[in-house]
């Protein structure tokens, strides 16, 4: 795994890309892995210490998968939503029990009239009761949320 620890300037740009959810700070080290993917790391280890381990050992993972760049935004992972849930106050789509069932089966969700009236577009944090259950995307016609829940987090 190639890793690149982001400096303050780059981190600021990433925060802008998740501001659509109301997130204003990421109090962890941000690490880029590959072109589009980002991870957050809370360990008590400085940049040089991490790089020392990185150059000495085959690293297969560091911290938590945060999200993937998608156009102007970053699509947050379900676990990153959980970590930053106290900051998320925008673009939240609350779903009902039936929609939650569909979501965990990996299916796209058809929105109700009431949900469509919210006129949300683009990436949204999908919430069921108290739980954030993943990031979805509402396309142009505003009728459906596309489901990005990874396979291993679905009911089979």
């Amino acid at each position: 795994m190639k890793i690149h620890i982001l400096d303050k300037t780059k981190k600021k740009k990433i925060i802008e890309k998740v501001s659509y959810l109301g997130i204003q700070k990421i109090p962890y080290m941000l690490i880029q892995t590959g072109v589009e993917k980002f991870r957050i790391f809370s360990g008590n280890f400085s940049n040089p210490e991490i790089m020392k381990v990185y150059y000495s050992l085959p690293i297969e993972g560091v911290g938590l998968y945060f999200g993937k760049a998608a156009g102007e935004d970053i699509r947050l992972s379900v676990d990153a939503l959980h970590i930053l849930k106290n900051q998320i106050n925008k673009n939240i789509m609350e779903v009902n029990n039936k929609q939650e069932e569909e979501w965990f089966l990996g299916r796209d969700i058809e929105l109700t009239d009431e949900q469509m009236n919210l006129k949300l577009r683009g990436f949204v944090a999908v919430k069921s009761g108290e739980d954030f259950i993943g990031t979805g995307k509402i396309h142009g016609d505003g009728k459906i949320i596309s489901n990005f829940l990874p396979k291993e987090r679905r009911k089979h």
Partner: protein, 325 residues
């Protein structure tokens, strides 16, 4: 005495029966009887995501009867209701990582080690991640964990479980455990406050979920494993800070893989074995086996037999490093 032999598809080999009888005498009957039953469903609440109180309430809403066997560790929960196959892994709470399906005995090494938020922690044989995720929760995602395993497939499972549990303080490495220790020592000079070596073993303690172990059981394999375990544990001890603590554990009951390894460490390193207090019926380590007498220190290690607490079988020793060799 041999009636359990005819009960099931996988029968214990005579030499295995003989060894268990030598270890626990007439209780061997109970040992083999329970080996053909399933362990109770048990889970560990992931406090990085939810409190035990809230999780318990949610699970009780499914109609599940939950028992918390340890008052000082409410995270451990036994599901006393009879669940349908796969039900435990299909709840929203499981998919979101609010709990980890984990056998009670497997929680004990981390309970004995008590990692703290400022610790530098090494999990040398980490996959599938039950102990790494438990340690991360006790460390509240602070400090640093290096979680290592050798095989890419096992690393994928480890990474998946770390993600699901919301673990952020971990670096995952893929290397043979002995080589990893050598490399860390040579190239980084890192020393750890706490280390867990949950060593690959013959799995005699896991017969309840893997009855095929009866078929695969082989004394030569045990002897080979014992040599590997000594090397692994010795390499790990080199990385432990003076005053630091290490757990050596296995899910097997063969003394060659358990007390013999600890005895080897006692004789070759400046260490002491610490007493382990856990709220379960524990038995002390054996001090003599196969004509060999082990150091009296080895008695402080603990054994769990499946019929004592209705768990899997397990062995653990808590080691404190007193200084360099």
């Amino acid at each position: 005495m041999m009636k359990y032999k005819d009960k099931i598809k996988y029968k214990p080999k005579p030499e295995f029966i003989e060894r268990i009888e030598k270890l626990i005498g007439q209780e061997a009957e109970k040992f083999f009887e329970i080996s053909y039953t399933e362990t109770p469903d048990s889970i560990r609440c992931n406090t990085l995501k939810i409190s035990p109180e809230e999780l318990k309430m949610r699970l009780e809403d499914y109609g599940w009867k939950i028992k918390q066997p340890f008052s000082e560790y409410p995270e451990a929960m036994i599901i006393e209701s009879r669940l349908s196959p796969g039900e435990l892994g299909k709840t929203k709470e499981h998919l979101l990582g609010y709990y980890y399906v984990q056998e009670i005995s497997s929680m004990l090494p981390i309970l004995a080690l008590k990692p703290r938020p400022d610790d530098l922690f090494l999990d040398l044989c980490a996959s599938p991640g039950s102990k790494t995720t438990q340690a991360a929760a006790m460390m509240n995602n602070f400090g640093l964990i290096i979680a290592n395993d050798t095989d890419l497939g096992r690393i994928a499972i480890l990474n998946s479980n770390l993600e699901k549990c919301g673990v952020m303080n971990t670096i995952v490495t893929r290397k043979d455990g002995i080589r990893l220790c050598e490399t860390l020592l040579k190239k980084t000079n890192m020393k750890f406050d706490k280390i867990i070596v949950d060593a690959p073993c013959s799995g005699e303690g896991t017969l309840r979920k893997s009855p095929k172990t009866f078929l695969m059981w082989n004394i030569n394999f045990i002897k080979k494993l014992s040599r590997i375990q000594k090397k692994l544990a010795s390499s790990a001890l080199e990385l432990l800070k003076t005053g630091g603590e290490m757990i050596y554990s296995t899910c097997t009951l063969s003394p060659e893989e358990d007390e013999e390894v600890v005895d080897y460490l006692v004789r070759n390193f400046n260490i002491e074995i610490e007493e382990i207090k856990l709220p379960l019926k524990l038995r002390c380590g054996v001090c003599e086996w196969g004509g060999q007498e082990y150091s009296p220190e080895v008695r402080k290690a603990v054994r769990l037999y499946p019929h004592d607490n209705n768990t899997d079988g397990f062995f653990l020793a808590k080691i404190r490093k007193l200084g360099e060799k």
